[in-house]
């Protein structure tokens, strides 16, 4: 949202026109010579650390907890896996379980019948537990 007290102070240039193919050929060429600054000013480093702290990557695959491994070894139906995910999140919506839920939900989504199981159990619960009040189908 734009601050009502702060008018836009710059002449507007509009968007850059789309480059033609000749221009694009120039723009996408790999560099021939390069140089750079090996470091940063101390205040830039401080900001860079702050910036990095709010950048997430898709969660790396952690080692699956024992209860999930046990269910997989028993070859439980995907429906049961999704329901367990739902119950686990309901009982213990910890940070660790939330991250695991996101990863597991994607794994369940790969399985045959996974999308339906998630729709029945996993997705509504994920929305309710992880997205505050924003979930639908609840």
């Amino acid at each position: 949202m734009k601050d009502k007290n702060r008018d836009y102070p710059y002449p507007q240039k509009g968007v850059r026109a789309a480059p033609d193919k000749r221009e694009l050929r120039i723009f996408v060429q790999p560099w021939v010579h390069e140089g750079g600054s090996p470091g940063m000013p101390a205040e830039a480093m401080k900001f860079a650390r702050r910036f990095s702290a709010v950048v997430a990557s898709y969660p790396d695959q952690p080692e699956l907890p024992a209860w999930v491994r046990a269910m997989v070894e028993k070859k439980v139906p995907v429906e049961d896996l999704a329901r367990s995910l739902h119950d686990r999140l309901h009982r213990a919506p910890t940070e660790e379980n939330q991250e695991l839920a996101l990863i597991l939900a994607n794994e369940i989504a790969r399985m045959k019948g996974g999308a339906e199981a998630l729709a029945a159990h996993g997705t509504p619960d994920l929305l309710a537990r992880l997205s505050g009040t924003g979930g639908e189908d609840q």
Binding site: M1, K2, D3, R6, Y8, P9, Y10, Q12, K13, G14, R16, A18, P19, K21, E23, L24, R25, I26, F27, V28, Q29, P30, W31, V32, H33, E34, G35, G36, S37, P41, E43, A44, K46, A48, F51, S52, V54, V55, A56, S57, Y58, P59, E95, Q98, L102, A105, N106, A109, R110, A115, T123, L126, L127, L130, S131, G132, T133, G134, G135, E136
Partner: protein, 287 residues
């Protein structure tokens, strides 16, 4: 990682086929999902519909990138044509079929962004710096080289494997096409690129410096001669750009935080927005 919002991508229109879930934490600004990650999820270039659920703390944005320009030239993650699906906090989820927006099966990287947590002030990179760039470059180039049109003023978001740049940061990138005029010889194409890093200092003033610079000259008998002439000017340009940045950014101060959005987004996107990263970059300041 208490999530701010959750996004579901679908293989087919109207929530059909495979689905994948992506989330962004409440304290996070960005979650970047690269083509490699999408490939690991068997979800690279197959997304046809998407739902972005609302957050209770911010506007939820999912930005889908094609990683190409004009549908042909590969440009890497978080670049090229994009479609942005956004929903304001505490509202209904936003759903879109990408077939309606010319983006079916084109998503090769995804950026989730929390925006509008509070009052913001947005500035276009082109509006702020284009005139300064053109005037400075024209004064520096001399008679043997000239600008070919406006520069490409874009971003390098989370660049991987680029010397001097961090894969955890976002940089502004200016690439200028040049015409090199050689007496009694056909003209050569060339380009110069500068990557700029902007930051808020301890007094919450915006500052910036040139982090990386590079040049390209088209192949030919005179390439080395042209580069020998051009490269010292590129290097000398670094201190000039740093000086100009200091002058140009001096009026921007008193902000709590600062981040970027792709393209030109002076007004916040609601619903589905369309753009390309070559058009502009938006600097967003939290007040």
């Amino acid at each position: 990682m208490s999530l701010s919002f959750l996004t579901t991508g679908y293989e087919h229109v109207n929530k059909g086929g495979l689905q994948r879930l992506f989330g962004l934490g409440k304290s996070g600004r960005y979650n970047h999902i690269s083509a490699t990650h999408l490939g690991q999820l068997s979800f690279d270039a197959i997304l046809s519909s998407i739902q972005v659920n609302a957050s209770s703390t911010a506007t939820a944005n999912a930005i889908l990138f094609s990683n190409t320009v004009l549908g042909i030239f590969p440009v890497g993650n978080f670049a090229g044509d994009f479609r942005q699906v956004a929903t304001k906090k505490n509202t209904s989820p936003a759903f879109a079929n990408m077939t309606d927006f010319g983006f079916n099966d084109r998503t090769r990287s995804i950026l989730l962004v929390n925006t509008s947590r509070g009052p913001e002030f947005r500035v276009s990179f082109r509006d702020k710096f284009l005139d300064t760039w053109n005037a400075t470059l024209d004064a520096q180039l001399g008679s043997q080289a000239s600008r070919k049109g406006d520069p490409l003023m874009t971003w390098a978001a989370f660049p991987e494997g680029v010397s001097y740049l961090s894969s955890n940061q976002i940089y502004l990138q200016i690439t200028q096409a040049l015409n090199i005029n050689i007496a009694w010889w056909p003209d050569y194409d060339a380009s110069i690129t500068y990557h700029l890093y902007l930051y808020l200092d301890g007094s919450n003033k915006l500052r910036g410096h040139c982090q990386r610079w590079s040049a390209w000259v088209e192949g030919g008998a005179k390439s080395d001669d042209v580069m020998d002439e051009l490269w010292p000017k590129v290097v000398a340009g670094v201190s000039t750009i740093n000086t100009k940045l200091k002058e140009n950014l001096s009026g921007l101060s008193g902000f709590k935080d600062f981040y970027y959005l792709p393209g030109r987004q002076i007004a916040p996107t609601v619903g589905v927005g369309t753009g390309t990263t070559w058009e502009d970059v938006t600097l967003v300041f939290e007040l």
